[in-house]
């Protein structure tokens, strides 16, 4: 016996080019949709990871643009503002605070970085408190420097790879022409730390002529503490601003949501075009087979049988197109990642496009549902064809 599925499938092969073009339309829509949804969840996951890997929930910074400050922490940059490190005592005495660590961010122009040079980030840190704040940092080689006045450096994984340095080698800080001895190289973390070079705080202050000055205090809160009252108290301190990383995340997500809305609109338009394409293809195919459908009715097919037959064709097209789209999205996710990274003002360091099984399933179910919906009209019209009209060739279109 021949099944309705076989009849529908063989019919789609009749006009291969048309079926293929419709299929490609659906596949491209599915690809855009999966990539977009994958980007939605990938971006947030990576941003969360970046923020969690900072080890602290609040930052105290010298007054200035908070977004700039936040971006600097996440990405590195110039135009730094400084505050006196004595402020640390005031912060540390607050009961909500578990740990704090001072950081002096510094950026120098490295002519050898990239094709036309770039900014190299040097973070002056206190090894003890910084390591306590980030216990997840593991060393590939060596360990933290012990003397905060020494000319020793710990390199992030990528920084060491880029500079081709091992423990025991020397690195030269561009612009300042100061040599450091590499004492530790970190394992890959997938965060900004990978590209950073950590040097002792006091040494950094000396090199950049910023005695007793820092750019940031990282604050780790006690477990379960609400940060809002502490933020209010800290705002009373002179010339500082408080950056909550939760707020940073919200702000970045808000900025990114504009891009997401745009891409979502494009995806919606692509899906609408694909739906119209499917309806057009199936409807054209129904009219072309007007007499055949009439004959099917004379050999015993009920309107519902014809409806199912046409519906199956739509579902075959949409499911196959959806699967191709998902495969495309999986294969091209790295390219999507690169494109997004090039377009976005800030991108976290992890993967930007995260496509998991749940997302694939949701997309495929969604596309099949769309297929079922778009197949209703052509299938209904086909089901209504009367055999006599079909045999006479009187299409009531």
């Amino acid at each position: 016996m021949i099944t309705k599925f076989q009849i529908a499938y063989k019919n789609l092969l009749r006009k291969r080019v048309r079926s293929l073009l419709t299929l490609m339309g659906i596949a491209v829509s599915a690809w855009v949709l999966v990539s977009l949804l994958g980007f939605n969840q990938g971006y947030e996951t990576s941003l969360n990871k970046d923020i969690d890997n900072m080890g602290f929930q609040l930052m105290v910074m010298a007054k200035g643009c908070p977004y700039e400050a936040a971006t600097m922490m996440l990405k590195g940059g110039t135009g730094l503002k400084y505050m006196d490190e004595s402020i640390m005592k005031d912060v540390a005495k607050e009961p909500e605070v578990e740990k704090i660590t001072p950081i002096l961010m510094s950026a120098v122009f490295d002519a050898n970085k990239g094709e036309s040079g770039g900014i190299a980030g040097y973070f002056g840190v206190e090894p003890k408190s910084f390591a306590e704040m980030k216990p997840f940092l593991k060393f590939r080689q060596g360990g933290w420097f012990t003397d905060t006045n020494s000319y020793e450096a710990v390199m992030g994984y990528e920084a060491a790879e880029l500079e081709q340095r091992e423990v025991g080698d020397e690195i030269l800080m561009p612009e300042k022409n100061v040599k450091f001895k590499v004492v530790g190289i970190l394992n890959r973390t997938g965060t900004q730390d990978d590209g950073t070079i950590f040097v002792p705080l006091k040494t950094t202050q000396k090199i950049f002529n910023r005695p007793n000055e820092i750019t940031t205090i990282g604050i780790k809160l006690k477990k379960g503490v609400n940060s809002a009252p502490l933020e209010e108290k800290l705002y009373q301190l002179p010339d500082v601003q408080i950056v909550s990383l939760a707020q940073v995340k919200d702000t970045i997500m808000k900025l990114i949501s504009t891009a997401q809305v745009m891409v979502l609109s494009i995806a919606t338009i692509a899906i609408l075009i694909a739906i119209v394409g499917v309806i057009n293809t199936i409807l054209t195919s129904v009219w072309e087979r007007f007499q055949e459908i009439g004959i099917l009715k004379t050999v015993g097919a009920m309107p519902w049988d014809i409806f199912k037959l046409i519906w199956i064709e739509t579902v075959i097209l949409c499911t196959t197109g959806g699967v191709i789209g998902v495969i495309l999205a999986l294969i091209l996710s790295r390219i999507t990642d690169m494109v997004m990274r090039a377009v976005l003002p800030y991108a976290p360091s992890g993967g930007l496009v995260l496509i998991d099984f749940k997302l694939i399933l949701i997309t495929l179910v969604g596309i099949v549902c769309i297929g079922l919906l778009s197949g209703i009209y052509p299938a209904w019209r086909a089901g209504r064809i009367r055999p006599l009209e079909a045999i006479r060739g009187e299409a009531a279109r």
Binding site: Q6, I7, R14, I295, T298, V299, G300, P303, R386, P387
Partner: protein, 247 residues
């Protein structure tokens, strides 16, 4: 003749339709009785209403007036008008159809075309009918071919096998040889004749070819929407060779 031997009975069957302001009566008060196992041919010039009549007899269309009985069961009449769904049910239980243009599905093989009706409706004990029919009609060697790869005569044989696969009581053939040359036309009508003789199938064949119409047990002529029975000229039977091949 007792009622249970009557396959089909039409009483004053009429079909009129409007074309613009004009009302055309394509079938005008036609009455006829067809017995089980009879081979009936209807001839007439183009536009005489023979196809409209066969569509009414085959439940492809509702009549404007008159009555139709199948095996004693009332189908149309006395204001009774059937829905498309009910007509489909009657059609698939009672009729097999063959047409001038064959209407085979080009993407399906010969065998798939023959078994196509079983996808939608299957009468009991029809499991092996397709193989038998292909064998009977001499096209078993073509079963894996597509319709585009076989001749017109073979295509009509496939259409006959498709019409027969659910073992209908009545086979309606509307100009079954209209697209065939004389030799193939004779072959197809001989096939129908043998199916009628060997299987006891009731056949109603519409044709404009008087020579082919003579293969039937009874002949009718349609003229201006009216039907009258005419005498079948003698001296025409199924060729011995065809009968041996198909029996």
């Amino acid at each position: 003749m007792s009622e249970n031997l009557i396959s089909m009975e039409a009483k004053n069957l009429t079909k009129a339709y409007r074309r613009g302001a004009e009302e055309i009566t394509a079938v005008n008060s036609v009455s006829l009785e067809i017995n089980k196992g009879e081979f009936v041919s209807i001839i007439g010039p183009s536009g005489s209403g023979k196809t409209t009549l066969v569509n009414l007899l085959g439940c492809l269309d509702n009549p404007t007036a008159g009555e139709l009985y199948l095996g004693g069961r009332s189908i149309f009449g006395k204001g009774k008008r059937l829905s498309e769904r009910d007509l489909t049910k009657i059609r698939r239980e009672t009729f097999g159809y063959i047409f001038q243009n064959f209407y085979l599905i080009p993407t399906l093989t010969v065998m798939e075309n023959v078994i196509l009706p079983l996808t939608f409706y299957r009468k009991p004990n029809t499991e092996h009918e397709a193989e038998k029919l292909l064998n009977l009609l001499g096209i078993e060697h073509r079963k894996d071919h597509l319709p585009g790869q076989i001749s017109g005569g073979e295509m009509q044989r496939v259409a006959i096998a498709r019409a027969m696969v659910n073992m209908p009581e009545i086979l309606l053939a509307d100009e079954p040889t209209g697209n065939l040359d004389t030799k193939r036309s004779v072959e197809i009508v001989e096939v129908l004749r043998v199916l009628n003789r060997n299987v006891g199938l009731t056949i109603i064949m519409v044709t404009h070819n008087q020579e082919l119409a003579r293969y039937a047990d009874r002949m009718f002529e349609m003229k201006d929407g009216q039907l009258c029975e005419i005498e079948v000229p003698t001296g025409n039977t199924v060729t011995r060779a065809a009968s041996q091949r198909l029996s």
